[in-house]
């Protein structure tokens, strides 16, 4: 009715839905709440009563909803213990794609170029998700060093070059949100002080690329550059190299890698579809 309504395409306004419980009293909402409850139960399965308690509805209702969910394959069960079902698996894979598919696609070629051009141990593509980076793609040498990253996996953003590169070009609020809680300390070198972190962000902004030295994983340093869209970072690409090759002068100097990265990331940003 009124005019100040958001019809805005670019920025997705995310409600800070930190609230727990109190599902709206609609059948659909309750069903979804049940789904959420079950998916929260990592590993272990749920019984009807537990679900009912968790969601806050009578047993019979929970039971009915579970049967509905089961009919659609969103939950499955062994005996009478319920777990998330096959449809859930399908959808989560589909979500991976529909949300980041185009990003992955446009990035694929530059990523390969980067991989061949440098002789880094690995190249990564990631986005920011909450306080973590979420890895979208990864290329490694077959015999490469084992890195803790996994496509679809997460890692505390503040401990990675990827996270720094993205945050360096993100709105204040986003940064504040990420460093709102104590910074994760994965290795002894992980940045622990907010002030220091913010300083690094500003350096990264100036240089165009961010650096991380063994803050995520012993023995590897990373360089990363942001992928931009509409003036804000939406993702980042990174190169990982063993500490040794990075420090023992010559072979791989970080600024050179940085330039390579900027080249690649700019190319990706440029060819990214607009909307």
């Amino acid at each position: 009715m009124s005019v100040d309504m958001v019809v805005v395409p670019p920025v997705s306004d995310r409600q800070p839905d930190a609230q727990v419980g109190e599902v709206a009293q609609s059948s659909a909402s309750k069903a979804l709440a049940v789904l959420e409850a079950i998916s929260r139960a990592r590993g272990s399965s749920f019984g009807v009563t537990e679900v009912a308690a968790d969601v806050g509805v009578p047993k019979s209702t929970a039971h009915r909803l579970l049967k509905t969910l089961e009919k659609h394959g969103f939950v499955g069960r062994s005996g009478s213990r319920y777990r998330v079902g096959g449809s859930f698996f399908e959808l989560s894979e589909a979500a991976r794609w529909s949300e980041f598919g185009e990003l992955r696609d446009t990035a694929a070629r530059p990523l390969n170029w980067l991989f061949e051009r440098s002789d880094a141990a690995a190249v990564h593509l990631a986005v920011l998700s909450g306080r973590d980076v979420l890895y979208l793609d990864k290329i490694t040498r077959p015999a490469g060093t084992r890195l803790p990253s996994r496509v679809g996996g997460r890692f505390p953003a503040t401990c990675t070059a990827l996270g720094k590169a993205i945050l360096a070009h993100s709105p204040r609020a986003t940064v504040a949100d990420v460093i709102g809680e104590p910074l994760a300390r994965i290795t002894p070198y992980s940045v622990a002080l907010r002030q220091q972190f913010v300083l690094q962000l500003s350096k990264a902004r100036d240089a165009g690329y961010a650096i991380e030295r063994e803050e995520a994983c012993h023995g590897t340093v990373c360089v990363a550059a942001p992928i931009m869209r509409d003036g804000a970072a939406v993702a980042a690409v990174s190169l990982s190299v063993p500490t040794l090759t990075a420090t023992r002068g010559g072979a791989a100097d970080l600024p050179a890698l940085g330039r390579l990265l900027v080249q690649a990331s700019t190319e990706i940003s440029r060819s990214l579809p607009l909307a």
Copy 2:
């Protein structure tokens, strides 16, 4: 708890109506149907009207359901085009614990073994879901041929070695269900005649592995072996190789691959938890 459970969910309750599916008239069911509809929209997003048409409900209802789904983060939107939402991302780890979790986990190691042992272009793990195979896992060479498969994706069962391997060791009713409608013709080589298909199943049963020659994808042939539990196939593993290496004698002869597969699939079946 005499659980005779099978891992495959949405198989047998086939509603008489096959077309645009008259969902049960419950708010929850409709919401889930909407979710499914949206996830089917690979790549492109859905508008309210399209969803309404696809699910078979009036616009207003579709709209209301979409809003509910959005509130829970199960769908997201850009402007007013809807797509599957972030919640599935957040919970994508949970999907690892779905009913397919243990299957994927126990299969992981043998799958890798298979991949390294053969020099196939790809190895797949899949289950039967309706008339399709549902890919649970996939390993490919970085520079490998592009295959149409995707983890979480589907493909008509009758056009794949995976499907044949599973169906060869499935109850009559299941087979009848799958070949009840006209067989899909993806390539000119796809098996179109039921009789021929059934013959292939019996051959596959005898040999222990199934073969598919460019019936799913030009230029690749596949071999697959079933993973058994309680005397019935619950999944299958496959190797894909380019047609050239397969036909130009020597390098990769199919029976050899078959033996490799049977070894791996037997190992998986053996180490699969019972109930």
